[in-house]
């Protein structure tokens, strides 16, 4: 499954990041790498972007960007 499918309070462990390019680079520069746990905190008022916690800090990320992150559920 992909990160955008997770709901608030769910945790996913990153398996892989799809695709190529700037977005992917940015994602792992920010610490989203295979094996990392991502906690989904909440969604913005219009349902997008989503707020996640990675390596102890908080990021806002659009669902279209989150769709690239393949995760396996840790506590779903």
């Amino acid at each position: 499954m992909t990160l955008d499918e997770l709901k608030p309070t769910q945790i996913g462990r990153v398996v892989k990041i799809d695709g190529q390019g700037v977005t992917k680079r940015r994602l792992f520069d920010m610490g989203i790498t295979p094996g990392t746990n991502i906690i989904v905190k909440k969604m913005a008022p219009l349902g997008d972007p989503m707020e996640i916690q990675v390596r102890g800090y908080t990021i806002g990320i659009r669902k279209e960007e989150a769709r690239r992150i393949i995760v396996e559920g840790v506590n779903i």
Partner: protein, 670 residues
């Protein structure tokens, strides 16, 4: 000695820079980009020059900011200070792990010492120093703790007697691979600086080009990397990034001897502030409050600071006017000189300067809000909505500020990283009805739409917003096509705003405003004065309607016929009003008052306009070129002349077309 200051965004870099150099002054932009370049001298030792590099998360070559840092490092500065947010070590050290690969003397400043101590966190610095092989110094930039120690260390490592050899910090098997590459490179007698080795592994284009490998060697390295990629089923850049993070985790597990308890305050605040239902109402509330402070006369009978200081400024201008007038009269100055200096220059420039207190106050309040970290939340909340019109969440702040004044609004767009998004936001901002245009709406509302029709003012505001949406969508589909940048935005913990930073920033902005906008306004005021003082034959105009300005306006009048206004004997007055509105939008009302046929300005409006032509006139003034201060700011912030003139063209075309539609359709209905 040249020292570079490098670190993540939100790591307190700006605070440290201010602390060390005493200013936020920037010397223009980095060549070729719109990223501000900041260089200053260390207050306690002027021989040390500190270059503030843009906040970056990594040294990859993808954004202008990262390229600037890369280029700077290639020029081999004497030393670099890597500022690290100690409350966010893991991610911050990622950049550090890349920086240590360079042969440049370096000191790591672990910022927010006060916060980590408060949290009870204990970090074994020696472990960090031994693994990264650079000095680590705990500081607090805002509280000015240990900054002297930091600079003493930097002086030491930056001096010529000290040299540093870069090394790489990656986990596991990659280290072996890198060692192999290093051996191969030295056999080929190629440079073997640590970061070169890693870049060869990553098949970085710039590095490969520089190395000038023969085909066989190139194929060897490519094959090598491909094997690794296949083994991990991932691309090399990702594998390397992961290896870095794994190494960092390993180091931190040993170095953090006592984990701190993170404060839940940020989370608690965010539970409310980014709550699905409360977020937008709270945002509207906060913005309304700020606007009241800046633009309202009073709130619940309490006088508001914005209008108070504006009144003071106006009073000051008046005093200057009277004083200079008296002086000139005593010096027997000719009447034209009196008119030019007192009624044109001082009045004209004064009119613009008088709203400077409000611009600055707005900017101050929004900067403080930005400093706390709230604006990141705002971008997060509004992104969904703004994407629908082709912008991103980060555009919301400039657009909101535009309701007050376009000048600080356009300057606020600097925080938008994506060039296209930024340009688009800047171009759209003037369409929003700023506070200087409000007197125009109020005048027409009183003259033509009184009684139950007060809603004409909100309608004008909405017209501005709707036009903005359409222009945005139009431009996005044509001229500014292409994917926007990624959003991925850090939401830092809430922090107390650093007033020193903000005030320094404010002073810098005021200086800029006064100089840039002032020169344009001064020149334009003089030009307009000449145009309305003299006849086309350069005699002094006896009657207003004989002046060049009036003659030219009359000439243009037919162009405006389809828009409904500018008709009749006093038609030229609305043109003159619109034209002088380009100096300052407030002039529109005063020109109608001075040149209009009625005894009062309200009477003049009633005599010059119909209901429908009022609407088209208001819409035209809403959308046409903004005031000179804004035009000056547009020119400054839009680097390319082409974009600047294109913006003005769009304003002209939009103003004419929408006004036309309003009048033609309006007159069919009413």
């Amino acid at each position: 000695m040249i020292i570079g200051l490098i670190g993540n965004p939100n790591s307190g870099k700006t605070s440290l820079y201010n602390q060390l150099t005493g200013s936020t002054s920037h010397v223009g932009n980095w060549p070729g980009v719109t990223v501000e370049k900041r260089v200053g001298k260390y207050l306690k030792d002027k021989s040390i020059e500190i270059v503030d590099l843009p906040g970056i998360y990594s040294l990859s070559p993808y954004s202008p900011e990262e390229l600037i840092a890369r280029t700077f490092l290639n020029q081999k500065p004497d030393a670099i200070i890597n500022i690290v947010d100690a409350t966010n070590l893991e991610r911050n050290l990622y950049l550090t792990s890349q920086l240590v690969e360079h042969n440049i003397p370096m000191v790591v400043a672990l910022n927010f010492k006060d916060i980590t101590e408060r949290r009870g966190e204990v970090i074994d610095i020696s472990i960090l120093e031994n693994t990264f092989c650079v000095p680590f110094i705990q500081i607090s930039a805002t509280k000015n703790l240990s900054t002297d120690e930091l600079m003493n260390k930097i002086k030491l490592v930056g001096s010529s007697t000290y040299s540093r050899k870069g090394h790489y910090l990656l986990n596991g098997e990659l280290e072996h691979t890198l060692n192999d590459i290093k051996t191969k490179l030295s056999l080929l007698q190629k440079p073997t600086e640590a970061f070169h080795i890693v870049k060869v592994l990553e098949l970085d284009k710039q590095t490969l080009k520089m190395m000038q490998f023969d085909n066989e060697t190139l194929e060897y390295f490519k094959e090598n990397t491909k094997n690794i990629e296949q083994k991990h089923d991932d691309e090399i850049a990702s594998i390397v990034a992961n290896a870095r993070y794994e190494k960092i985790s390993e180091i931190l597990n040993k170095a953090i001897t006592k984990k701190g308890k993170a404060s839940p305050i940020t989370d608690r605040i965010d539970k409310i502030v980014t709550n699905r239902f409360l977020a937008i109402p709270i945002f509207i509330f906060i913005m309304s409050f700020i606007f009241a402070l800046v633009f309202a006369d009073e709130l619940f009978s309490i006088p508001m600071p914005g209008t108070f200081f504006q009144g003071l400024m106006e009073g000051f201008v008046e005093i200057v006017q009277v004083g200079v007038a008296n002086l000139l009269i005593n010096l027997n100055a000719s009447s034209w000189a009196l008119d030019l200096v007192v009624d044109a220059i001082i009045a004209g420039v004064g009119a613009v300067l008088s709203f400077m207190p409000q611009i600055l106050l707005l900017f101050l309040l929004l900067s403080i809000l930005e400093d706390t970290g709230y604006m990141a939340r705002v971008a997060f909340i509004m992104d969904g909505l703004l994407r629908k019109i082709g912008l991103s969440g980060k555009s919301i702040v400039p657009l909101i500020m535009g309701f007050g004044c376009s000048v600080p609004a356009i300057m606020a767009a600097r925080t938008i990283e994506n060039e296209n998004d930024r340009k688009l936001t800047i171009m759209l901002t003037p369409f929003i009805s700023c506070s200087a245009k409000l007197p125009i709406w109020a005048l027409f509302a009183a003259a033509m739409f009184s009684g139950g029709n007060w809603y004409i003012i909100p309608i004008i505001y909405f017209t501005g917003i709707i036009v903005l949406v359409f222009v945005s969508l139009g431009l996005k589909k044509t001229v500014y096509k292409g994917s926007s940048s990624t959003f991925i935005m850090e939401m830092p913990p809430y922090r107390y705003p650093n007033t020193k930073n903000t005030v320094l920033l404010l002073l810098e902005k005021s200086k800029h405003f006064v100089i840039k906008a002032g020169t344009i306004i001064l020149s334009a005021t003089i030009i307009i004065w000449v145009l309305q003082y003299f006849t086309p034959t350069f005699r002094v105009a006896e009657v207003e309607s004989d002046s060049i300005l009036a003659v030219v306006s009359n000439f243009i009048v037919p162009v405006f016929h389809p828009l409904g206004f500018a008709r009749g004997e006093y038609g030229y007055v609305s043109i003159v009003a619109t034209l002088t509105g380009i100096i300052a939008k407030e002039s529109v009302v005063s020109i109608i008052g001075v040149l209009g046929p009625g005894a009062t300005v309200v009477e003049s409006v009633r005599m010059m306009f119909t209901n429908v032509s009022s609407l088209s006139f208001m819409v035209f003034n809403l959308l046409i070129f903004p005031c000179l201060a804004t035009i000056g700011t547009l020119r400054q912030e839009l680097k390319s002349k082409k974009t600047f003139w294109f913006t003005l063209l769009i304003q002209l075309v939009t103003a004419y077309l929408v006004s036309l539609v309003v009048y033609q359709i309006g007159s069919l209905i009413w």
